[in-house]
């Protein structure tokens, strides 16, 4: 009895199976896999491009000096290669950018997610997307030719020095990361369940209290992810920094009213200058690039982790 059922079933599955193996589908599957694997190949290529010149470089200069010296003077008789001046430059830009972008981005996000009527939201979001799409060359030129002179005109008592200003570069970078911070935090706040808000309203809380005491804390890890992503964008920003903070020779300088060089600006200015391929200075481009890559990769992993933790709580 049971054996006839078994055989009947296997007959039926055989009938449902396609009569010929579909090699075409296998080929397409293979092609699709390859297209997906290209991204892994790109990452591998980036790692190779950045790290391959390093062993040779660190035979010429000391790796300890690279990470600890506070001076970068490659052209001198006794050259010193310390990465600190340009790391400090990047830090000043990133901190200024976050000081500008966090309040602007977070307040915009709270408005969009908790207050804005649907129609307003639907118009403002694309506008912010367009702001995000403005080429950084344009923002950089605007900041160099207009924003810096304008700020100097407003605050003549501040110690402005020369044409360049790290602080203004930071402000301009801050403006371009506002849309990123706003849209990631907005997404995080919108995925906070309605029931949390309604519970708070039922207890008599006002709109502002619900937004600040319930929604923002509930979306906190998503908001932190937005800040980290914004900071990572600011670390990697090149053109604005190159234009506004200047591309001079790197020196340790904490003054935001003067120019300074950052990691990205160092790479861009050295790679376009007249430097012999294979020289030590040429190889330092890759060392600084590797450092930049590791820093931004770390920040992105952190942001991905925060977003994941947030999703685990609510979805």
């Amino acid at each position: 009895m049971s054996s006839t059922v078994m055989s009947e079933r296997s007959d039926r599955t055989r009938a449902l199976r396609s009569d010929k193996p579909r090699y075409g589908e296998k080929v397409i599957f293979g092609f699709l896999f390859i297209t997906a694997a290209v991204s892994v190949a790109v990452t591998t290529a980036i790692v190779i491009a950045l790290f391959q010149p390093l062993p040779g470089l660190f035979q010429e200069i000391s790796i300890v000096e690279f990470f600890t010296a506070t001076e970068w003077s490659p052209g001198f008789l006794k050259p010193v290669y310390g990465v600190w001046p340009i790391v400090v430059g990047t830090l000043i830009v990133v901190i200024t950018a976050l000081i500008v972008a966090i309040p602007l981005g977070l307040l915009s996000a709270i408005y969009l997610s908790e207050y804005a009527p649907n129609a307003v939201r639907k118009t403002i979001k694309p506008v912010l997307e367009i702001l995000e799409g403005i080429p950084t060359v344009a923002t950089g030129l605007f900041a160099f030719f207009w924003l810096r002179p304008f700020l100097e005109y407003l605050t003549p008592w501040l110690p402005w020095g020369g044409l360049f200003s790290t602080g203004v570069a930071g402000i301009a970078v801050g403006l371009i990361i506002v849309p990123l911070i706003a849209s990631v935090s907005d997404d995080a706040m919108r995925s906070v369940p309605r029931s949390l808000r309604e519970g708070a309203y039922a207890l008599g809380a006002g709109k502002m209290r619900v937004a600040l005491r319930v929604v923002v804390p509930a979306a906190f890890s998503g908001i932190i992810a937005a800040f980290v992503l914004g900071a990572s964008r600011a670390v990697g920003e090149t053109m604005i920094v190159l234009l506004v903070a200047g591309a001079g020779s790197p020196s340790l300088n904490f003054n935001p009213f003067e120019g300074i060089q950052t990691m990205t600006a160092y790479i861009a200015s050295r790679a376009t200058g007249e430097i012999a391929v294979g020289s030590v200075v040429y190889d330092t481009i890759f060392a600084v690039g590797a450092l930049l890559f590791v820093i931004t990769l770390g920040m992105n992993m952190l942001a991905i982790r925060f977003v994941k933790r947030f999703r685990e709580v609510y979805e």
């Binding site: 579909r22 589908e25 599957f29 092609f31 699709l32 390859i34 297209t35 997906a36 694997a37 290209v38 991204s39 892994v40 790109v42 990452t43 290529a45 980036i46 190779i48 491009a49 602007l104 307040l107 915009s108 709270i110 408005y111 207050y115 403002i124 506008v127 367009i130 702001l131 799409g133 403005i134 080429p135 950084t136 060359v137 344009a138 923002t139 030129l141 605007f142 030719f145 506002v178 706003a182 006002g206 502002m208 990572s232 964008r233 990697g236 090149t238 234009l243 990205t264 790479i267 861009a268 790679a271 376009t272 890759f286 690039g289 890559f293 931004t296 990769l297 992105n300 942001a303 991905i304």
Partner: protein
């Protein structure tokens, strides 16, 4: 109080009194809290206005600074250090068009293919598929200048050794925007309900037939939006191109695999760095030209997405 007029005497008075007491009890007495919430609303609106006025300010500056050079020479003349008043962007525009052409040819198959694989075919329990996913997320956050170093090491020199040509720039920028296209295409595929695919499979179509004939057409507008936004990013991207040789001052139309090339944002940067005032005006006019093109492209992409955004 209309109820109390119907009730006479003491009971009417009692009802009116109770009504007032209730109103008084629930009225918000806390004017401090009200001021704070009005202030907070004002602060949020101010933040939005500042963010949005940044776009307006960049556009306004570019217009006032560059308005004297908004002429045909801007588009049809090449760069020149001698005839500064009539120099333009023709060579850079051609270079950018070549770069964009290469970018489109590369990112459509690679981006859509990877998105289809990850959304429709990949087994999420396998570690290599999760690794690909994580890798794409991380690649999207790699700074553009690092892609410039990649282009320098792989396309200009190294395995491909094309030299400082438009092809190198094109391939570099294509890899830079690829993660954006993949992520946008995945979102577009995710928005197609699985019932469409399942219906097709139930009618006897193979998996690929179902994906190709049902899922892909439904996701196409979203994917197209992703591609257009990626192209608009590629038009404005300058940093990686600096590293693959776009900064050279070429005065002739480039060919894809030969000779120096230039690109619109890079030539703008080049002009801006020159001390003569004519060039700075020209840079502002170039910014205006580029922003005008980008705003048109981006608005079209956003319109396209809104127009075809289906709720199934």
């Amino acid at each position: 109080m209309s109820d109390s007029s119907r009730l006479k005497g003491r009971s009417g008075l009692a009802v009116a009194g109770a009504g007032l007491a209730v109103q008084n009890h629930f009225k918000s007495k806390d004017t401090k809290g009200r001021t704070a919430s009005i202030l907070f609303l004002a602060l949020m609106l101010l933040a939005l206005v500042v963010a949005i006025s940044a776009i307006v300010a960049v556009l306004a500056w570019a217009f006032f600074e560059g308005r004297t050079r908004l002429d045909a020479d801007l588009i049809f003349n090449g760069p020149s250090t001698v005839k500064r008043a009539t120099a333009g962007y023709s060579v850079a525009i051609l270079g950018t068009l070549q770069i964009i052409g290469g970018v489109i040819v590369l990112i459509i198959p690679l981006g859509v293919g990877a998105a289809l694989y990850l959304e429709q075919f990949a087994d999420k329990t396998k570690w290599w598929n999760r690794a690909i996913e994580l890798n794409i997320q991380n690649l999207a956050g790699v700074p553009s200048i690092v892609f410039g170093i990649l282009g320098l090491a792989f396309f200009v020199r190294g395995p491909f050794s094309w030299g400082l040509v438009a092809a190198s720039g094109s391939a570099t920028v294509a890899l830079l925007v690829l993660p954006t296209v993949i992520l946008a295409s995945r979102e577009a595929i995710k928005a197609v309900p699985p019932s469409i695919l399942e219906g097709s499979l139930a009618l006897g179509a193979t998996r690929w037939q179902s994906v190709w004939l049902q899922v892909l057409p439904a996701a196409a507008p979203g994917m197209l939006t992703g591609v257009i936004l990626a192209v608009s990013r590629a038009i404005g991207e300058a940093a990686p191109l600096l590293l693959v040789g776009a900064l050279t001052f070429v005065t002739f139309a480039p060919s894809f695999f030969e000779g120096g090339f230039s690109a619109l944002p890079v030539l703008i940067y080049n002009y801006a760095g020159r001390p003569q005032e004519e060039f700075q005006i020209l840079a502002a006019a170039g910014v205006l030209l580029m922003l005008a093109v980008l705003i048109v492209i981006n608005s079209f992409a956003i319109w396209l997405r809104a127009r075809y955004e289906k709720s199934w």
